[in-house]
């Protein structure tokens, strides 16, 4: 039992655990986490995939061994803190204010000198020097047989900072557990003017009820001049609870909304490609005058007809509309996002008495014609649709525990490294002639710094008392 306690409260274990956590954490930054299994097999092959999966390398930070390391670290901290507490309390009780031989032997910073002045003469000088050089609280005691004792200590409470830092880490870990168990995170997309009371969880894609309704009154986006780089985007949201409008707030990135334990963050935005209208321009090839240009508004999935200059009817049907056109590895077209970054439309043109043909039109590249055989050029002029706001929704009851731990840790780590408990004992004993002075000092941290200070005090004492 004693050996178990000793093992779990050893600093060696702490160092080993910290290093293990450091190295195991690296795995998760080298192997992409929580990806689709298909991608893993593609990348690593079947054998390596199975090996990595069984070792939890695809979700390192939630694997059993990573959690075990964290649990061990928590136990280690707890045991260290308890063992230290027992020791500190004992020291606190036993800490002498009068220098005796036992104390003098215990600490290695010690200095003695013989003075030719009497105790009463030296007393005030000693006091003024420790007042000046040590500060802190000073205790003076008249001893028996004409001796005199000084005791000065600084940062008496610095021993508590150890507990502040180490327990704050336990608080953070506890908060993390609360977040993982009680928290939920999901997303929702609301079209401008619409409302919803549901959201989807990220991991499971399950639908959850918010418990109230969110309406998106307005969505605005602002770009940096002459670019498509968003500068700012914001949504005006209204919260409706049991049919009543409770509050209205504009949210943007970094400025979320809180209501009934839920936090709603602005996270993305996009175009509703199903309900909007495309503007397509139709012009005869080699047309010089713009009079022959025609513009049509057409819904995605809709169609229109026009009669050409040759008197033949043509039907144009919208096959696909992609707001952010790109090609995948196999040359298939897809949309990288729901944002109008590279709008493209695929249309099918049916000329009466001719075979229909399909072609792509790009808004950003109006001169790019895929098909020359049509005598008309089709250009995508724009898309006018509603936008939706992408919101992240979450509840995290652990967060306040985490923040509490973080604040304590920030304060603690500064104090624990900078504040050291410094003590100085001085004993004046009458000798013939004059008196003897012994000074002993101790600091629990920053020992080298304190040693310099101790030497300086000794020097000061020698200078002022020996002259």
């Amino acid at each position: 039992m004693k050996r178990i306690i000793k093992f779990f409260s050893s600093i060696k274990l702490a160092i080993i655990l910290l290093i293990s956590l450091a190295f195991t954490s690296i795995i998760g930054t080298v192997i992409a986490q929580k990806q689709n299994p298909v991608l893993y097999v593609q990348h690593y092959g079947e054998g390596l995939y199975k090996l990595f999966r069984s070792m939890g390398f695809f979700d390192v930070y939630h694997s059993w061994w990573f959690i075990l390391l964290l649990i061990l670290l928590s136990i280690n901290i707890l045991f260290c803190a308890l063992r230290r507490l027992l020791r500190d309390l004992r020291h606190l009780r036993l800490s002498p204010t009068r220098l005796d031989d036992e104390t003098a032997r215990k600490f290695n910073l010690s200095h003695s000198m013989m003075l030719d002045k009497a105790v009463s003469e030296c007393k005030d000088k000693v006091l003024s020097i420790i007042k000046k050089d040590m500060g802190g609280t000073i205790k003076q005691e008249q001893g028996e047989e004409g001796g005199f004792f000084f005791f000065s200590e600084k940062n008496r409470h610095s021993w508590t900072f150890f507990y502040l830092t180490h327990l704050s880490i336990l608080i953070i870990l506890l908060g993390g557990i609360l977040s993982a168990v009680l928290g939920i995170k999901g997303y929702m997309q609301i079209l401008e003017g619409e409302k919803t009371d549901k959201f989807y969880e990220y991991a499971s894609q399950n639908e959850y009820s918010l418990g109230f309704t969110v309406r998106c009154d307005k969505f605005e986006i602002e770009y940096y001049p002459n670019t498509m780089r968003p500068k700012d985007y914001k949504s005006t949201l209204s919260i409706l609870d049991q049919g009543r409008e409770i509050l209205k707030k504009i949210i943007e990135v970094n400025k979320p909304l809180h209501y009934r334990g839920m936090t709603i963050y602005q996270s993305s935005y996009g175009e509703d490609t199903s309900s909007g209208n495309l503007v397509l321009q139709v012009k005869p090839m080699n047309a010089e005058s713009t009079e022959l240009f025609q513009e049509f508004n057409v819904a995605a999935g809709g169609s229109f007809e026009f009669t050409g200059a040759d008197g033949i009817k043509r039907q144009v049907k919208v096959l696909r509309f992609l707001p952010d056109f790109a090609m995948d590895g196999q040359g298939k077209a897809f949309s990288k996002s729901n944002q109008l970054k590279n709008p493209a439309v695929q249309i099918m043109v049916t000329k009466e008495g001719d075979t229909p043909f399909a072609l792509w039109c790009f808004q950003a590249y109006p001169d790019f014609h895929m098909i020359k055989k049509g005598e008309y050029i089709y250009t995508l002029k724009g898309y006018k649709g509603r936008m939706y706001t992408g919101l992240q929704v979450g509840k995290d009851p652990g967060i306040w525990v985490v923040w509490l731990g973080c604040i304590l840790l920030m304060i603690g780590v500064v104090l624990v490294l900078y504040s050291s408990h410094q003590r100085i004992w001085i004993r004046l004993t009458p000798e013939k002639p004059g008196c003897g002075l012994q000074i002993v000092g101790h600091a629990d941290k920053n020992k080298i710094g304190f040693e310099n200070k101790f030497k300086y005090i000794c020097q000061e004492l020698t200078d002022s008392l020996k002259q």
Partner: protein
């Protein structure tokens, strides 16, 4: 304006590097004093460069790699000047100045235009997060230099007849003390940087920790330095062992600072 100030600062740092290196081989005290004077001049110009760029951009200019490297050098010089002021170790300059000069010369090859801020970066947390992170990086860089000097000096002492270098390098105790002081400054900075970063992430993305590579690497570095502090404070590792650890720790810092952005994908696309 800011580019001009920056180039003048770099020129001053290069001059300081030369003086400090001459000091290391010639042992002339005057050289170290010149090095110090040029470092201070460079630092003033560098500060002016950052402030004018701040005014021009309207935000703390630590976004692009160019700006990040420049700010890293600035923070390192700041920590060095504080150390030099408090414990006067001119030979530290012979290592810190070349290191910062190299990182600044590298910035000359990078685009220096001011980049606009994307919405996630527009946060009040950015100031304290960036400054504490870079002060931490600077402190770890100085600790790295002190560790290298320690190892050099230790080798000098092991010889039967110490070489000329021995007389120009500070004593082992001074170096060990300095390393500890600098680490005791860097570690809280790193802690504050990680925590403010997570508070920022919480307000921007609704998640205080998402194991993004930069986050994870900063935590890895934190683990490494936490282990290091425990080896020193509790297990009594000093001197040579501590110096090797300080060097290893700095490699982790450099990977967190530059490696993650250049080699891994994540939320921090900048340095």
């Amino acid at each position: 304006m800011n580019i001009l100030c920056f180039k003048l600062a770099l020129a001053a740092y290069l001059a300081a590097t030369v003086f400090y290196l001459i000091f290391l081989v010639s042992m002339k005290k005057g050289m170290a004093r010149m090095g110090q004077a040029f470092t201070i001049a460079g630092f003033v110009l560098h500060t002016a460069a950052i402030l004018t760029r701040y005014a021009e951009a309207g935000h703390l200019p630590v976004i692009s790699l160019y700006e990040s490297l420049s700010f890293f050098a600035w923070a390192t010089i700041l920590v060095f000047l504080i150390c030099d002021y408090r414990s006067h170790i001119p030979s530290l300059g012979s290592f810190v100045l070349p290191l910062t000069s190299i990182s600044l010369i590298y910035t000359l090859a990078l685009p220096s235009h001011i980049e606009p801020l994307n919405p996630a970066l527009q946060s009040a947390w950015r100031g304290i997060h960036t400054i504490s992170a870079f002060l931490g990086y600077g402190a770890f860089a100085v600790a790295f230099c002190a560790a290298i000097i320690y190892l050099l000096q230790e080798r000098q002492l092991k010889r039967k007849k110490p070489g000329a270098l021995y007389y120009r390098l500070p004593s082992l105790e001074t170096l060990d003390f300095l390393s500890h002081k600098v680490l005791a400054f860097g570690f809280p900075c790193l802690t504050i940087a990680i925590i403010t970063g997570s508070m920022w992430a919480s307000s921007a993305w609704g998640s205080y920790w998402s194991w993004d590579p930069k986050e994870t690497w900063s935590l890895i570095t934190w683990f490494v330095y936490a282990a290091m502090i425990h080896t020193r404070v509790a297990a009594g590792w000093r001197g040579k062992k501590a110096s090797y650890l300080a060097i290893i720790g700095f490699l982790f810092v450099m990977f967190t600072f530059l490696g993650v952005s250049l080699l891994l994908k994540g939320l921090h696309t900048y340095g």
